[in-house]
């Protein structure tokens, strides 16, 4: 303690050291290795050698562009759906939750307490060919008699939407909750209709939550492969499925590494473009 007292400037660094070292060693350094590996060529039998094989990136984009596009398409649709579905509920909890707020928030995160894979499998049960959803849709003639939901893109998007919904709802709630209700009253006193007050006061003030929720939903959704694997067929495979197979089944490390980087780069570009368009500086906290 005497030492700390004499070198007060050191204290923050000592506090940071173990945690930051862990993140540097097991997050940053591995990314470096991944980058290195993405530029290697060779095969598992003869070993891989580093030779600036930029072709890996071209192959990744060219051969798997369909899976890339599908990933961002599914993730985009799921994010928009999650936003539209959960905004009214976040609004409800924030402004009308009263003393039930905590309980309702607990319900929002309840799906997280059921193992991710198990709740995805539960959707498999719900959407299965003799499940009640498919039967109802058949009865209403909304689905052809041999139509099914499992192994379709609808099922995969539905699964992704459900699985990441709390990531959208919680930040929305937090930003709505912080809004001073007097501002909305003031707008109404100044003869704004309820709709105008919402569009010109509530909605803009909740924008940080929209941004945070969108990112928290879109990023994991774009890299997901569990929903496509359990609820879809090979026609619904996303880039995550390809990376996973290349790594663990085909042992084609350089290709998988290149694809991981393309995935990260595209996400980064989309996130920056989105942040610029929305114009909030909430990104780095």
């Amino acid at each position: 303690m005497g030492f700390l007292h004499r070198h007060r400037g050191l204290t923050p660094y000592l506090l940071l050291a173990p945690g930051i070292a862990w993140l540097a060693l097991f997050f940053l350094v591995p990314l470096g290795f991944l980058a290195y590996q993405s530029l290697e060529s060779g095969s598992i039998d003869f070993g891989y050698a580093f030779n600036w094989a930029w072709g890996n990136y071209w192959d990744a984009i060219h051969n798997y562009r369909r899976q890339f596009i599908r990933s961002f398409e599914y993730a985009g649709i799921a994010t928009v759906l999650a936003l539209v579905i959960s905004y009214p509920v976040a609004y409800f909890i924030a402004f009308r939750g009263g003393r039930w707020k905590n309980l309702l928030l607990l319900c929002i995160v309840a799906p997280f307490f059921v193992t991710y894979l198990i709740r995805t499998l539960a959707w498999g049960t719900i959407l299965s060919d003799n499940g009640f959803v498919v039967r109802t849709l058949h009865d209403l003639h909304l689905l052809g008699s041999d139509g099914r939901l499992l192994a379709t893109s609808t099922a995969v998007v539905a699964g992704i939407t459900y699985n990441f919904l709390p990531f959208m709802a919680l930040p929305l709630y937090v930003s709505l909750e912080q809004i001073d209700s007097r501002l909305i009253e003031a707008a109404e006193d100044l003869y704004a209709s309820k709709l105008q007050a919402f569009l010109r006061v509530t909605l803009p003030l909740s924008l940080p939550g929209v941004v945070a929720g969108t990112l928290l939903t879109f990023i994991p959704a774009a890299g997901d492969f569990v929903n496509a694997q359990l609820l879809g067929g090979t026609k619904q495979h996303m880039i995550g499925n390809v990376i996973q197979a290349k790594y663990l089944e085909l042992i084609d490390y350089p290709a998988a590494a290149a694809m991981s980087f393309v995935l990260m780069a595209v996400i980064l570009i989309l996130v920056l473009a989105y942040a610029r368009a929305v114009g909030t500086e909430q990104l780095t906290g």
């Binding site: 506090l15 409800f92 309840a110 539960a122 719900i126 299965s128 995935l263």
Partner: protein, 281 residues
Amino acid sequence: MSAVATAARQRPRVGARAWAFTRHHALTVYSALFFLYLLLPIAVVMVFSFNNPSGRTNYTWERFTWDNWIHWDDVPGIRSAIVLSLEIALLASVVATVLGMLIALALVRYGFRGRGTTNLLIFLPLSTPEIVLGASLVTLFLNFNVVFGFWTILIAHIMFCISFAVVTIKARLIGFDRHLEEAAMDLGANEWATFRKVTLPLIAPAIFASLLLCFSISVDDFVVTYFNSGNEVTFPLFVWGSARVGAPPQVNVIGTAIFVVALGAMLINILLQTRRSKGAE
């Protein structure tokens, strides 16, 4: 004549009232439907833990049985998978919470060079897809010929839990009155005594929340673990493996049990917090 006039006058009023009623309650009804949708798969998991499937797949309801609950470990490998998951989650949540608390203290209490970089380093793992986290760690371990198993899983879990711990504890540290700590120091307490007697009790709820959060993230993790587990099988990996041939109803039993325990812990946390805030009033 007059009756007709009254009816004519009343009709729009009834219509308007019905419209007002719908408008006022539309949000409530919609929210109720939303929660129904949110909780539906959980109900399915619970109900199917009591199913007695005739074939290998537990997809259609056959008939009620207690067997799956009584013989919950009657599936080879399920017990060791659960034990491994609990061990990893316990260790990972404790280590990550301690490391995260130290980082949060440094970030909130001290001004120092490199603060922005530190914030960025905390934020980055949260905004990286899990599959990239998993893939890059595999590459590291392969390069150094590390044997995959318990330790590689634990290292990975601590890594992705740290950021969540920092965020949780930082929020609480920002929220509380620094004067309390200064008062303790003025009264002659040194930094360590101040931390132990003032800071720690004040951020205890955040530490508990961080432990809960890290534990549940770790127990639930599939993607990163899948890449770094070698031959070890955690519970999510067990589910993944069994899903290919049809998950046995015991999987639903464990899923239900985890849900009930986690929900109970959260309820206790909420109750403690409401009581604490009531006591403060």
